[in-house]
């Protein structure tokens, strides 16, 4: 339950955003200081029945289908080659949090060389940079960027049986080593948080390369480092024509917190625990069609402590394919099919996947009655091979205002 202070803050931000939107004249973002400071924003409300299987939760308390979000973005141009970018969000009127805050530099005007430092957009994959809800044809997020697995960054199981006992329960997981409290698990890649560090982008058409060194991992981005390890990530993109974009990504970083690492018995304490990931993203568009597909493979290494020991790395593969078709001016249809699969490990009961595989299909439509208003509706079906709730049908609606 949000505190009164949080509600007041949230309402204040909401009023500010609405006033800013109204004052923006609806055609351009609010521009101040002679165009040096620009403000933009989004207010979105998404409603759906209670998701009892927690298929759409990106946190124990936050479902992407039951969400009121206010998002305010600002870009301050310090010089021709330097800008500061800021993004602040509040979800369900909770205390606003900084989503992005970084410095962007382009040292040479005519060369595509950009340097960004701070709380920066991820270079891995394609979906996380579709930041505005306007860029997502459906109300939900892809499983690979949202669904909570039964792994945690601050607690680990001692035995394989403890891990598989949490299959399909990633929204609230408890393990004996590390943090004693129950908490939400990790997604493959967090689509709701950005990481802190530096990144470099080099472009030479039709190629583009982005590299980043950040504090956290794909699954658990951080503002302050919690384990002394850094994540290296990168994406190489090829776009031979405006119709086609292909990207390959990779990332590696230490994911286990210092607290959890310290709680491990010797000799497991000495080794580092990493999340390694590879990604492939494709986009094709022409006329009234946009087709997108993305695959994310992630591997975590857990310590092998007690029997049955977790000897094998824990692999997960997320895949989605998405299509959007414009039926009429202002009206689009969209669909997404996706799958999240997990590798097997040995337990006393035989080989089991370390988390319950999930399949989701979603179909929906979006209608833009006015330029700055987007209404979305969708139907979503989820299947899961484990957990208390194994199937779920959800109908969702979303109202989105932006400026």
């Amino acid at each position: 339950m949000p505190s009164r202070r949080s509600v007041v803050k949230g309402v204040t931000v909401a009023v500010a955003v609405c006033l800013a939107a109204a004052g923006a004249g609806a055609d351009e973002p609010l521009s101040l200081l002679g165009g040096r400071l620009r403000l933009g924003g989004e207010v979105s409300g998404t409603i759906a029945p209670e998701d009892e299987g927690y298929f759409n939760y990106s946190d124990y308390e936050v479902s992407s289908l039951r969400l009121f979000r206010i998002d305010l973005a600002a870009e301050a141009r310090l010089a021709r080659f330097a800008s500061v970018l800021l993004d602040v969000r509040t979800d369900n009127l909770h205390e606003p949090r900084v989503y992005a805050l970084y410095l962007r530099l382009r040292p040479w005007e005519k060369r595509e060389v950009d340097l960004q430092a701070g709380l920066v957009p991820p270079v891995f994959g394609a979906f996380p940079r579709r930041r505005y809800a306007y860029d997502n044809p459906l109300p939900s997020l892809p499983l690979a960027y949202q669904y909570l697995t039964d792994l945690r960054e601050d607690a680990v199981p001692a035995r394989a049986e403890e891990l598989v006992a949490q299959r399909g329960r990633g929204w609230l997981v408890r393990y004996p080593i590390g943090s004693p409290e129950a908490g939400p698990g990790l997604p493959l890649v967090s689509g709701e948080k950005w990481d802190t560090g530096v990144e470099l982008r080099l472009g030479a058409r039709p190629w583009s390369l982005a590299l980043a060194l950040t504090q956290g991992t794909l699954a658990y981005p951080l503002v302050r480092d919690d384990n002394g390890g850094k994540q290296a990530s990168g994406r190489l993109a090829w776009s031979p024509s405006p119709a086609v974009a292909v990207g390959v990504s990779a990332a590696t970083g230490e994911f286990l917190s210092r607290q959890a690492q310290a709680a491990l018995p010797d000799p497991a304490r000495a080794a580092t625990r990493r999340q390694d990931a590879l990604g492939l993203d494709l986009e094709w568009s022409a006329g009234y069609w946009i087709l997108r597909a993305e695959a994310v493979w992630s591997r975590w290494n857990l310590p092998a402590i007690d029997a049955t020991r977790i000897e094998d790395p824990l692999d997960a593969l997320g895949f989605y394919a998405e299509a959007r078709y414009k039926l009429l001016p202002g009206l689009h249809l969209a669909g997404r099919a996706e799958r999240l699969a997990f590798s097997e490990l040995a337990t006393v009961a035989g080989r089991r996947t370390w988390d319950a595989p999930v399949t989701r299909v979603e179909a929906g439509a979006g209608w833009t009655p006015r330029r700055h208003v987007l209404l979305k509706a969708s139907w979503q079906h989820n299947w899961r091979d484990g957990g208390r709730v194994r199937e779920s049908d959800l109908v969702a609606g979303q109202v989105l205002l932006w400026f």
Binding site: G25, S31, R38, Y132, S241, S285, K326, P329
Partner: protein, 223 residues
């Protein structure tokens, strides 16, 4: 929005009055200059927070161009509007020109001159259309059958916008780079001359065109 609605009403002719046809005459000329003193928009888009770098060079739309037109033109003006053809380019992530004025029945071409995709669309009551995505060197066309104000946007680039003003008569002119305009062939009579700039009617003046056919000079300063 109120101003745009008022402009739309002005563009819609009172054709239901069925005025008696007037003989065509060479008519007079109204000319002058529009000085735009107001600051236009920046032409910039939403903060590009999710981008991995700066965007490339863009053309800043020339928002100083105005359209000067007769609000209540002679009834005969509506008898036979002359459809024409206009072009609205997509160039360096901007629509060029920022404002285009055409008569009802005219067709406007939308060539893409950029290496990237654009997706031209409008949700205006006067014309709803969506041209989809097409690459450089290709063009799509739209015929405008109703008078009114048509706001044109790019779905991919939020900073791209333009206006198409569709008139039911021919008594209008777009100002040149120096702000000059010239409306010719105006029959003798008393009229209201309106100046539209950057989304709204900014000024109105009464004007009398004499039977002599002499040119009438009328300058405007738009705040």
């Amino acid at each position: 929005m109120v101003l745009i609605t008022a402009l739309a009403a002005a563009l819609l002719p009172a054709v239901t009055l069925s005025p008696a046809p007037e003989p065509r005459s060479p008519g007079g000329t109204i000319r002058g200059r529009v000085e735009v003193r107001r600051e236009g928009g920046s032409g910039e888009g939403r903060p590009a927070v999710a981008e991995l770098g700066h965007h490339g060079p863009r053309v800043v739309p020339d928002r100083r161009r105005s359209v000067v037109y007769l609000e209540a033109p002679p009834p005969a003006a509506f008898e036979a509007p002359l459809p024409g053809r206009g072009v609205l380019y997509q160039k360096n992530e901007a629509f060029v020109p920022f404002v285009l004025a055409v008569t009802v029945g005219s067709t406007v071409d939308f060539p893409n001159s950029d290496r990237i995709y654009h997706n031209v669309f409008s949700l205006s009551k006067a014309k709803r259309f969506d041209l989809g995505r097409y690459p450089r060197g290709q063009s799509r066309s739209v015929r405008f059958d109703q008078p009114g104000v048509v706001r044109v946007f790019c779905e991919i680039h939020s900073h791209m916008s333009a206006f198409i003003l569709v008139f039911a008569h021919r008594y209008f002119a777009t100002t040149d780079a120096e702000g000059r305009y010239r409306i010719e062939g105006v029959p003798p009579g008393d009229y209201t001359l309106a100046v539209w700039n950057d989304g709204a009617v900014r000024a109105r003046r009464e004007v009398r065109v004499g039977a002599s056919g002499d040119a009438v000079e009328l300058d405007f300063a738009v705040e």
